[in-house]
């Protein structure tokens, strides 16, 4: 991996502003797109647009949350690390919104159909498992729980890598024919896994 000797240090005030900005953009964006959906400004099929936006959003945020560590390490830029938790949490929030759009607007609370789809359609099963992982990780990211879990916490949170691969698979499975984008995500996830191979090896020891 690329190694840089001189650590990067930014003005703490700047990092604070950057964090605030990240919150505003990630949360605000979700809010705006939902608002547009309710007020019929999302084109022909607001449900599909919202479903795609939240799905891609969840995946992008998950990928970003996983790149932060390797970036921080290569550039010795440890101030990036506090971004991991909020970005990961937002990934879970986008994932939950995605699921909510699916059951509330796509299937409009036809409970039987919701269960049937989760069981019957492999790509939805995979999405569901991904979402469960994201929720478990979000809940256990609370400081008190994290402390209590000790080293198991790190093992558990390696599931984020499983989640990113599963999300890529979910995406690849659902496209009708344009498989390139999901394939790029999958290849990227595998690269991430490769970067973190030492850490992963440790877990399986």
């Amino acid at each position: 991996m690329l190694k840089i000797n001189k650590p990067i240090r930014a003005n703490p005030a700047f990092m604070k502003v950057a964090r605030l900005l990240a919150h505003v953009v990630i949360f605000g964006w979700l809010g705006i797109v939902f608002y547009q959906g309710f007020s019929d400004q999302l084109g022909g099929d607001p449900v599909q647009t919202l479903l795609d936006f939240t799905g891609i959003g969840a995946l992008n945020l998950l990928v970003i949350s996983l790149i932060i560590s390797p970036l921080a390490m290569s550039f010795k830029f440890t101030q990036l690390l506090p971004f991991r938790r909020p970005v990961g949490l937002y990934s879970a929030l986008y994932g939950l919104s995605h699921f909510y759009v699916f059951i509330a607007f796509e299937l409009q609370f036809e409970m039987q159909l919701i269960f049937a789809e989760i069981i019957k359609r492999p790509y939805i099963t995979v999405g569901f498992v991904t979402l469960i992982i994201l929720i478990v990780l979000a809940v256990t990211s609370v400081n008190r729980i994290k402390k209590r879990m000790g080293t198991t916490w790190f093992t558990l949170h390696s599931l984020a890598y499983v989640a990113v691969v599963l999300a890529g698979l979910h995406y690849l499975w659902l496209v009708k024919s344009a498989w390139y984008e999901p394939a790029i995500y999958l290849i990227f996830s595998v690269c991430l896994l490769f970067l973190r191979r030492d850490k992963i090896k440790k877990i399986f020891k």
Partner: protein, 337 residues
């Protein structure tokens, strides 16, 4: 449930606003300097919201459509609520112009339709070639309101203008050996960015081709459409001439047709070639036969009005056009999907 679904019968006034009135209002608002950052965010036709959309040019020259003369024909969809025109023209599957639903309207506005040439050939007595003007003058135009059911489980209700495909086939006098009709979309990568590479066109091997059995093609519901909502077709909906087969999934209704060939063998069709286990030759709307990745039992009717006005309704066999059932009397439709 956190939200109550608004019944689509209670469409509010702005949901059915005529396009012209809507644009007029926007112009007024613009003059007042009222459409600022808010509308940039809401980028009217482009659905995906993102910071980059703020820079997209909203006033890109729109393809010009013109009014047509026609008579109205009653159909069993006449009482359904029409899909607002901006939805039917802003949300399309037309991979020749890109794979996202908003790509076609974005990338097709400079599409050239005149001159055009549509030929009817193959196993016919008298091959025909129609130029651009002939498309509108050779047959009396009728307005027919049809339901359009997409294989992706959404549907629209659209007032098409056109004529029965049977008219033109009869005129060409099919030979008795003709059993099928094949159709082909224009292939012109210069004009259709999706055709330039597999990456931009969703892996489709262009030109797009479709087919019908001759008796399906002769069914009077099957139409060649040259317009919608009272005017000529915009490019994203298949200008200048497209097929509309209301009892089949939307992908059968091939757009921007240049060639119709009568054949004695079942012709290949684009989506069947791409994934035969997912899309059949017949592709009749059938609530009992699921697509491998989604249920076809119900559908979301797109009527306008935002998230809360989206209606889920039962999908009907043959999309509610029972009169075509006799075409498939002795066939197992779960096998011939």
């Amino acid at each position: 449930m956190f939200f109550k679904f608004r019944n689509s019968n209670s469409l509010t006034e702005n949901q059915v606003t005529d396009e012209a009135v809507y644009k007029q209002r926007r112009d007024v608002l613009k003059k007042l300097g009222y459409l600022g950052a808010g509308t940039l965010l809401a980028a009217s036709t482009k659905a995906t919201a993102g910071p980059f959309d703020w820079f997209s040019d909203e006033d890109k020259a729109k393809f010009a459509t013109s009014a047509l003369n026609f008579s109205k024909v009653e159909s069993n969809a006449s009482s359904d609520i029409l899909t607002p025109m901006d939805k039917a023209t802003g949300y399309n599957n037309f991979y020749e112009f890109g794979t996202d639903k908003e790509d076609p309207i974005q990338h097709s506005q400079s599409f050239r339709v005149d001159p055009w040439s549509l030929s009817i050939e193959g196993l016919v007595e008298k091959p025909i070639t129609l130029g651009y003007d002939d498309l509108f003058s050779s047959f009396d135009l009728e307005e027919r309101i049809y339901r359009l059911r997409c294989v992706e489980a959404w549907s629209m209700v659209i007032p098409w203008l056109g004529f029965s495909l049977a008219n033109i086939i009869k005129k060409a006098q099919p030979l008795s050996s003709a059993k099928y009709v094949s159709f082909q979309t224009l292939y012109e990568p210069k004009q259709m960015p999706g055709q330039r590479s597999r990456f931009t066109g969703g892996g489709v091997d262009f030109p797009y081709v479709e087919g019908l059995r001759l008796d399906e093609a002769m069914q009077s519901l099957t139409m060649l459409s040259v317009g919608m909502y009272g005017k000529t077709l915009p490019p994203q909906n298949g200008a200048p001439i497209r097929l509309v087969v209301p009892w089949k999934y939307g992908f059968k209704s091939i757009k921007s047709i240049v060639k119709i060939v009568l054949t004695d063998k079942q012709p290949p069709t684009t989506w069947q070639t791409l994934a035969a286990d997912e899309y059949g030759f017949y592709a009749n709307v059938n609530p009992k036969v699921d697509h491998p990745r989604w249920s076809q039992a119900r559908e979301r009717r797109i009527t306008g009005g935002g998230l809360l006005a989206q209606n889920r309704i039962d999908t009907l066999p043959f999309n509610g056009y029972d009169e075509v059932a006799s075409l498939y009397k002795s066939m197992d439709l779960s096998k011939f999907y």
